[in-house]
């Protein structure tokens, strides 16, 4: 899935897009979808898949960089797949976009207070605590998580896991 972005954008300005793809929950669906991106030289930045509806469907939230025209083409190709029910781009639209991160920080007793201030400021939580480490759980927009991670990296970050973005349309609209 890692082709140069220039291939995908074709000289057009690249922007980050959040696509929500509602698919049949069947084997092979993810491969078919990944193939559409790979073929046209797009890198998938983040991908979240979870069961939806009565379990016969899955919701995929895909974040990818590319030009508007290029991604429109990708979306039409996705919509054409038999197992895809619908595909919507929520970029720049009225949508709630959130991500979750778990950050394991190597903060011992002496520098814990500073780390906890940061955690507190971002409305995050500590979910695991040992003598030499603490694990922080944070949710929010990706930019906020970036900032949190930036501040925590003054301590030693042992590991970091982010879920990738999930998206939901605001108001009555369905995603």
């Amino acid at each position: 899935m890692n082709a140069p972005a220039t291939n995908a954008t074709n000289g057009m300005p690249a922007e980050s897009h959040n696509l929500s793809v509602y698919v049949a929950n069947k084997p092979g669906v993810l491969a078919r979808i990944a193939q559409v991106f790979a073929r046209r030289g797009y890198n998938i930045d983040s991908l979240v898949v979870s069961p939806a509806g009565d379990g016969h469907y899955s919701r995929m939230t895909i974040t990818a960089q590319g030009s508007r025209e290029g991604l429109d083409q990708v979306m039409r190709q996705l919509a054409k797949l038999i197992d895809v029910m619908r595909c919507v781009d929520h970029t720049g639209e009225d949508a709630v976009v959130r991500e979750m991160a778990l950050v394991k920080v190597g903060a011992g007793i002496e520098d814990r207070t500073a780390a906890l201030q940061v955690v507190d400021h971002f409305g995050a939580k500590t979910v695991d605590l040992t003598d030499r480490s603490m694990t922080v759980l944070a949710t929010g927009e990706s930019g906020k998580l970036d900032a949190l991670v930036g501040l925590l990296s003054r301590h030693r970050i042992i590991e970091l896991v982010r879920t990738g973005k999930v998206v939901m349309a605001r108001g009555e609209q369905v995603t």
């Binding site: 092979g28 073929r39 025209e69 039409r76 919509a79 054409k80 038999i82 029910m85």
Partner: protein, 575 residues
């Protein structure tokens, strides 16, 4: 009807019967034995045609489908049997041909363990199928078969793969054979289209002074030839087609420009580059048609009607697009268009025709064009013409005019050498009364010549015309024009004696043709053979070139109509 006594293989055959299948083109093997066994135990009327190579089976099913409009069916075993179908599946996929390819597979518990003759054909074919199935439950067979045929043959048709593990076809099938499809995500856009956009298209047409209609394969698939002709005659617009669109509009009609593109007629290419409106119906603006994308009809109003929404804006941005079935949309359009006065434009086109006719010199050695043109005359244009890929393909398309749908079959999108003979066999199975002529090159013919055995066995009266220039002619032509005539990997020295090869199959007749003076005589003898295949080995000029030609990636305006004296720069466009 419940079927407690049936196994999966038998259920499969019954389901194929319910789909109206007449022929299965196949090749057996371990993982497919339960299905082959069911062909016997069900006493089905479906005829199994045993081919000589799985690629041959797929091209046969493809030729059958193109010539009849019905989906072709392939049955092969797992592993190498399945992978041998790949080229054929790609070929059908590129040209939107309805196919159902059934592959045997290892038993379920062995999947993913590199078991004997296991190939992940579901994964391998994923980019070249319209859809695919790996069936895990015998009771899914009826629904999967129904869905496979529905998907293959509706909307924009294409190949569907059904991979059947051997324990699935051996296990009991206890479900109703008449299953409903369950395809909530499949919207083939049959009749729903934007009527407002059709009105706007009609308005655009009314303003046009120099309109051209470009008809693609989609017109044939939608059976919209009649509507297309009514429209063209009403607005007096000249019609050109794509290579695969040959037959969508009678090529002998005064408004026909023949087919356009890389080796299309010069007058079609001229007309398209001077038009002020292009109405493309059922075409995907393939690179062989448009040349340089940003120059194609740059100043014209561009209109695109196609059933596949993913084709909209893919190659050429258009002012008006309408996603829908070609026939339904044209019917609607006919309600809104009035006669147009295009006399001046048609006069200009007549001038193009006079200045740039399709022609060839009969002097010198025997010409492919000569053989093809005589075939056209002597069959009165009524044959089903099937081609292989190369120079002969282009000349066959130029000199065998096509007046009727599904009478010119050629591998367009994939350009698959080896397509010709097996596709002709499939076409003949589907049309036993028709004269089927396969124009093949000496190169491509040798890729699937083994299927002469299949044609011989079934006594199919196919005329195989090997246009033998002892070269991979089309590649040699590119080397001559763009690479200083450095010939590399194109000399077919070592060709067999094709007549002897043909006659070594029981009941196949062979004729040599070496001189222009003998063309009619030899064709007559070939046409008189009705009880089996025959082959003409036509020893043609070795280094002739196909013109007109638009170098790949160049705009239509850069078309050349004869060999330039200077060396040309290497093409920047696709192959």
């Amino acid at each position: 009807m419940t079927t407690d006594a049936m196994d999966g293989g038998q259920a499969l055959i019954r389901c194929l019967e319910n789909e109206g299948v007449e022929f299965i083109f196949g090749y057996s093997g371990g993982a497919a034995i339960p299905v082959f066994d069911a062909l016997v135990t069900t006493r089905t009327k479906i005829r199994m045609v045993l081919v000589r190579h799985e690629q041959g089976a797929v091209h046969m099913a493809d030729g059958y489908a193109r010539a009849t409009g019905k989906p072709g069916v392939v049955l092969v075993t797992s592993g190498p049997g399945a992978t041998n179908t790949l080229t054929g599946i790609l070929t059908a996929h590129m040209d939107s041909v309805p196919l159902v390819a059934i592959t045997g597979q290892q038993i379920r518990p062995m999947l993913g363990k590199d078991a004997f003759q296991e190939a992940d054909i579901f994964g391998i074919t994923m980019p070249v199928v319209k859809h695919s199935y790996l069936v895990k439950d015998t009771n899914d067979i009826p629904r999967v078969v129904r869905e496979a045929f529905l998907i293959a043959s509706t909307g924009r048709p294409g190949p569907v793969l059904v991979d059947l593990p051997k324990d699935v076809t051996s296990g009991p099938c206890t479900t109703d054979l008449h299953a409903e499809p369950d395809l909530p995500g499949y919207h083939p856009n049959a009749d729903a289209f934007d009527r407002g956009e059709v009105v706007r298209i009609a308005e655009a047409l009314a303003r046009a002074r120099r309109p051209v209609i470009l008809a693609g394969h989609g017109v044939l698939i939608a059976r919209a030839e009649r509507e297309l002709q009514l429209l063209a005659e009403r607005i007096q617009a000249p019609v050109t087609t794509t290579l695969l669109g040959k037959g969508a509009f009678p090529e002998t009609h005064p408004l026909s420009l023949g087919w356009m593109g890389m080796h299309g007629t010069a007058y079609a290419n001229k007309a398209v580059s001077e038009c002020d409106l292009i109405l493309a119906v059922g075409s995907r603006f393939d690179d062989r048609i448009v040349g340089q994308q940003d120059r194609f009809c740059r100043d014209a109003v561009r209109i695109h009607i196609d059933v596949d929404s993913a084709e909209m804006g893919k190659m050429i941005p258009c002012h008006h697009t309408c996603v829908g079935d070609a026939r339904a949309v044209l019917q609607e359009l006919l309600l809104h268009v009035d006669a147009l006065d295009t006399a001046e434009w048609l006069a200009r086109i007549a001038e193009f025709r006079r200045r740039y006719p399709l022609r060839f010199r009969r002097k010198g050695g025997l010409k492919m064009q000569h053989v093809i043109q005589e075939f056209y005359r002597m069959t009165e244009g009524r044959a089903i013409v099937v081609t292989d890929v190369g120079q002969h393909q282009m000349w066959a398309a130029q000199f065998y005019l096509t007046d009727h749908p599904n009478r010119f079959l050629s591998s367009g999108g994939a350009g698959t050498m080896g397509f010709g003979l097996p596709a002709a066999i499939g076409a003949q199975f589907g049309n036993p009364e028709a004269t089927v002529v396969a124009f093949v090159g000496d190169g491509g013919f040798q890729m699937t010549s083994y299927e002469l055995a299949t044609a011989a066995l079934h006594r199919l009266p196919i005329k195989v015309v090997v246009l033998n220039n002892h070269y991979l002619g089309m590649v040699r032509q590119w080397q001559e024009l763009f690479y200083d005539d450095r010939r590399s990997g194109v000399d077919l020295e070592g060709n067999p004696d094709f007549v002897k090869l043909a006659e070594s199959y029981p009941g196949v007749r062979g004729f040599n043709l070496r001189r222009g003076a003998d063309v009619r005589k030899v064709i007559r003898r070939a046409l008189d053979v009705t009880d089996g295949p025959c082959l003409i080995n036509a020893e043609v000029e070795k280094t002739d070139n196909v013109f007109p030609m638009i170098p790949a990636g160049k705009p239509l305006e850069d078309m050349i109509v004869e060999r330039p004296r200077h060396r040309m720069e290497k093409p920047t466009g696709s192959t």
